[in-house]
């Protein structure tokens, strides 16, 4: 199939095209530099790749990112290329199977929500480590990783809006409006994160640290794109949203404390301080109105919502373990250490 380029205007907002991490992603990367319709790797090859590994997760990331801000030098018409979408579907099936397997036997909706509402007296994990003893360099690594999401914070969730109605829709949009700064550009959460990155002497350009990010980090971003882009997974997307808004407030308090302790700068502290109070509100609105409203409209989605909550916890835990094990071994958690990155840093 051939198609005319959708636009000849260069994408000023696009990201640099990441390097391949294996046969699948290198093949897909090469195809993206050719005109749409060029052959992409055979979807059957997805069967041989680790569903949570670098090669498959980067391939998914490349496919999904075409729906956000795209890549420099890549024709935007690739977004709807049938060959690429066939490959993406095969990758998604592997990923979704791995998510279902990893969360098999998760509790029902009431129980998973109850579970994330309880704060441990003495917790462990990345935000505790950074709050109490992490180094500035570890904080910079954490921010570089998270930039893959926070520079498009709340974007993947927008796709669910046409699939909601009434109470759930009104409340969901209200929370998203807050995420997007309530009509004020300087308060858009993605902009607050860009300012945080500048305080940490990181490059705040979109997609700048994609090559440095681990497969575990890519999983957390791909999870949102997967849930967001499929109407069939709308319940899981809402579950994901609820999980993030519920767990963010206490975690943000620890990260704001870390920024203060490390004297990272006012914008770095503000990003997390803003999320303490914002997400305390969002959690209430999401649980009462979004989940409550959607359950009234589509009670059969309770299972998918519970899956969304469980899968979010599962990919976040894997990411946390990856960071902590690298740091405990005295290594960088990034694939490309910041001091060796080509620009910024």
């Amino acid at each position: 199939m051939t198609s005319a380029p959708a636009t000849t205007v260069p994408d000023a907002l696009s990201a640099p095209l990441p390097d391949g991490r294996g046969e699948l992603s290198a093949g897909l990367r090469a195809a993206l530099l050719a005109p749409p319709g060029a052959p992409v790797p055979d979807p059957a090859a997805a069967a041989g790749a680790d569903p949570l590994g670098d090669d498959l997760q980067l391939s998914l990331y490349l496919a999904y990112e075409l729906h956000y801000r795209g890549f420099t030098g890549v024709d935007p018409a690739w977004e709807w290329d049938p060959g690429l979408l066939r490959l993406r579907a095969a990758l998604e099936r592997r990923f979704l199977d791995a998510l279902r397997e990893g969360t098999a036997g998760h509790p029902d909706l009431d129980a998973v929500l109850e579970g994330i509402l309880v704060e441990p007296v003495s917790g462990t994990g990345v935000s505790y480590h950074l709050s109490d003893e992490g180094t500035l360099e570890q904080m910079r690594e954490y921010a570089a990783h998270r930039s893959l999401y926070h520079l498009k914070e709340a974007d993947p969730h927008v796709w669910v809006i046409p699939r909601l109605r009434g109470r759930a829709k009104a409340a969901f949009v209200a929370v998203e409006y807050d995420e997007f700064g309530g009509g004020r550009a300087e308060r858009v959460h993605a902009e607050l994160f860009a300012a945080l990155m500048r305080d940490l002497r990181l490059d705040d350009s979109y997609g700048r640290y994609a090559d440095a990010a681990s497969a575990e980090m890519l999983c957390t971003v791909n999870l949102m794109s997967l849930f967001g882009l499929h109407r069939a997974l709308r319940g899981a997307l809402v579950g994901h949203f609820a999980a993030v808004e519920t767990t963010s407030s206490p975690g943000s308090r620890r990260l704001a404390r870390a920024m203060r302790r490390l004297e990272a700068g006012p914008a770095a502290e503000h990003f997390y301080a803003e999320h303490i109070t914002a997400d305390a509100v969002h959690e209430q609105v999401v649980r009462r109105e979004v989940i409550g409203g959607l359950l009234d409209d589509e009670p059969s989605l309770a299972r998918d919502m519970a899956f969304g909550v469980a899968a979010t916890g599962w990919v976040e835990d894997r990411f946390g373990v990856q960071l902590m094990s690298a740091w405990q071994a005295g290594r960088s958690s990034l694939r490309v250490p910041l001091d060796r990155a080509p620009a910024g840093g």
């Binding site: 509402l117 309880v118 704060e119 441990p120 007296v121 003495s122 917790g123 462990t124 209200a174 409006y177 807050d178 309530g182 407030s249 206490p250 308090r253 301080a273 303490i276 109070t277 914002a278 997400d279 305390a280 509100v281 959690e283 209430q284 609105v285 009462r288």
Partner: protein, 56 residues
């Protein structure tokens, strides 16, 4: 306004609150969660400190 069973008072924003020492604080969020348990470290705004805590 909604008085939640477990935690804050939910009020439609913007909100202007006078604290007991006369300080006036404002929030222009679409909805504001006002702390009622007095445990918030961002008082008068809720920071989820009302949540149950458990030993792991």
């Amino acid at each position: 306004m909604v008085l939640t069973g477990e935690g804050p008072l939910l009020v439609d924003g913007p909100v202007e609150l006078t604290l007991d020492d006369g300080t006036v604080v404002t929030s222009d969020r679409f909805k504001v969660a006002v702390c009622t348990c007095r445990r918030s470290r961002t008082y008068p705004w809720c920071d989820t400190s009302h949540r149950r805590r458990s030993r792991p």
